[in-house]
């Protein structure tokens, strides 16, 4: 859910806005390293993809359905800097063109859903990859862990912001427990979907998965002869 206007007090909204601006400025420089002059068209198209995929409903059962948040998915597919830009632009367009998420809460939303999910997702992804064999399919469980942790991390950051600048008088402990409990569940769904999506991309175009590129490079080209082919060659 996007944070609306008035949920956090004005100083907190302004502070998160300043923080988000700084990180997005860094991301603009970092993305140039990831994509050079292709940054604008590719990031724009992938931002449109993230926006569209958020409209893809996954049925949970009992008539309810959820959808992807996409922070960890974007980080694994695009690399952290480009992913931050993507999520920022998606949130900006949602706030300005679709009135979803308060306009003064834009900094908060970018921080929580654009930056925290991507940074935590990417960090977990790289960490998990260290313990897995160096082959492209390892990106799938790593993406699972990344998405699983990115959602509760975002929820926890929300609780932290709430402690600083919340406008409602909810006791902290139950709020933390409720937010964590609920978002671990959401994170589980996010993790399954993210892992399946990354897996399907790896199966077809492993070179497009930014997080799997070092794994691809580690793979040597081997020439194998099939027994059938060698038999034919012999005869």
């Amino acid at each position: 859910m996007h944070v609306p206007d008035g949920f956090l007090d004005a100083p907190t909204s302004v502070a998160t806005g300043v923080a988000a601006t700084a990180v997005v400025g860094l991301a603009l420089r970092g993305a140039r390293r990831e994509l050079d002059d292709r940054t604008a068209p590719l990031t724009g198209l992938v931002a449109a993809f993230v926006f569209a995929v958020q409209m893809l409903n996954f049925p949970v059962g009992a008539g309810t359905s959820g959808h992807l948040l996409g922070g960890a998915l974007a980080a694994v597919l695009l690399g952290p800097w480009t992913a931050i830009l993507c999520m920022t632009v998606v949130l900006l367009v949602q706030a300005l063109f679709f009135a979803d998420g308060g306009i003064t809460a834009l900094g908060t939303n970018v921080t929580l859903m654009g930056i925290v999910t991507v940074v935590v997702g990417w960090a977990v992804f790289r960490l998990v990859l260290r313990f897995l064999p160096k082959r492209p399919s390892s990106a799938v469980p790593a993406a699972f862990a990344a998405a699983l942790l990115s959602v509760p991390a975002s929820a926890l950051s929300f609780v932290a912001l709430y402690v600083v600048g919340g406008t409602a008088d909810i006791p902290l402990a139950p709020l933390t427990v409720a937010m964590l409990g609920w978002h671990v569940l959401i994170g589980l769904g996010e993790a399954v979907i993210t892992a399946l999506t990354v897996g399907s991309v790896i199966a077809v175009r492993p070179d497009l998965v930014h997080g799997a590129r070092p794994l691809l490079a580690a793979r040597d080209l081997t020439i194998r002869q099939s027994p059938v082919a060698s038999k034919e060659a012999a005869s």
Binding site: G6, T43, A48, F51, Q54, D169
Partner: protein, 255 residues
């Protein structure tokens, strides 16, 4: 939640609000909402005045209330959350039709509902009276980094293409007898998402090549035609936040 951005919000028109440059409207709206957020929550009358101000803007812009109400459904999750607040917040309880509710929770619920609604209605009015391209030009005028504006304009330009592609993939799935039921359908949907990513990325590569062949060097395109906003435009756009600020100052004064 937050899904289903199916309807574009723009309403073509020629009202004075439509004609204001986008950057003036953006600054006006942000100023207005900041003032609303900073207003003490017990100054009930002030929020009524703010609603009146937005109503005046809607009347001048000739935006029908039904249009605003229909687009305000994005607020539903917030409303659900606000309705829960009186039950979970702490503090002294008061009886409301036989149910003990937290007094501060009720106040908080009112606070969130009032401010979020004013923000949503303000944003809807901005989106309804401003073309998306103008909004992007306005952001550029407000010194938003050119790279970010470029990314946003690519996104807006191709949003419908990508969304349509996803729609066609859904039709294709359904034509093959697929009906999503529970988590067992997730692998199929996730494969669709993966395919959509590959298609979006490859379309991005083609767009980039097409741009290169037309002399693209990585810089932002020059802003065409748009001249600087006149002082009078800034003055009329400032009317909304300035009046709101006077209301807010009075609210703080009389608290």
């Amino acid at each position: 939640m937050g899904a289903g951005h199916a309807h574009r919000l723009h309403l073509p028109g020629r009202s004075p609000v439509h004609r204001l440059p986008a950057q003036c409207k953006l600054v006006g709206l942000v100023g207005f909402v900041l003032v609303v957020v900073a207003t003490p929550r017990t100054a009930y009358w002030a929020f009524g005045c703010y609603a009146g101000l937005l109503l005046a803007v809607a009347v001048v812009a000739r935006v029908r209330l039904g249009f605003v109400a229909k687009r305000a459904v994005v607020e539903v999750p917030v409303v659900v959350f606000a309705l829960l607040l009186p039950f979970v917040a702490q503090g002294p309880r008061i009886e409301v039709v036989g149910i003990a509710l937290s007094e501060s929770g009720l106040l908080s619920a009112w606070n969130v509902l009032a401010k979020a609604t004013l923000g949503v209605v303000g944003s809807i009015l901005l989106a309804a009276t401003t073309e998306q391209r103008d909004l992007l030009v306005g952001l550029r005028r407000l010194k938003m980094p050119g790279q970010l504006v470029q990314i946003a304009s690519f996104m807006v330009r191709y949003l419908d293409v990508i969304a349509d592609q996803m729609h066609r993939m859904r039709i294709a799935r359904e034509a093959r007898g697929f009906t999503p039921h529970g988590p067992r359908s997730w692998p199929v949907l996730a494969r669709s998402a993966g395919a959509l990513f590959i298609r979006s990325y490859e379309r991005g590569e083609r767009v980039h090549l097409a741009m290169l062949s037309r002399g693209y060097t990585g810089g932002p395109p020059p802003v065409l035609s748009e001249t600087r906003a006149a002082t009078s435009a800034w003055v009329s756009a400032a009317a909304l936040p300035v009046v709101a600020l006077m209301i807010a100052v009075t609210a703080w004064w009389t608290r």
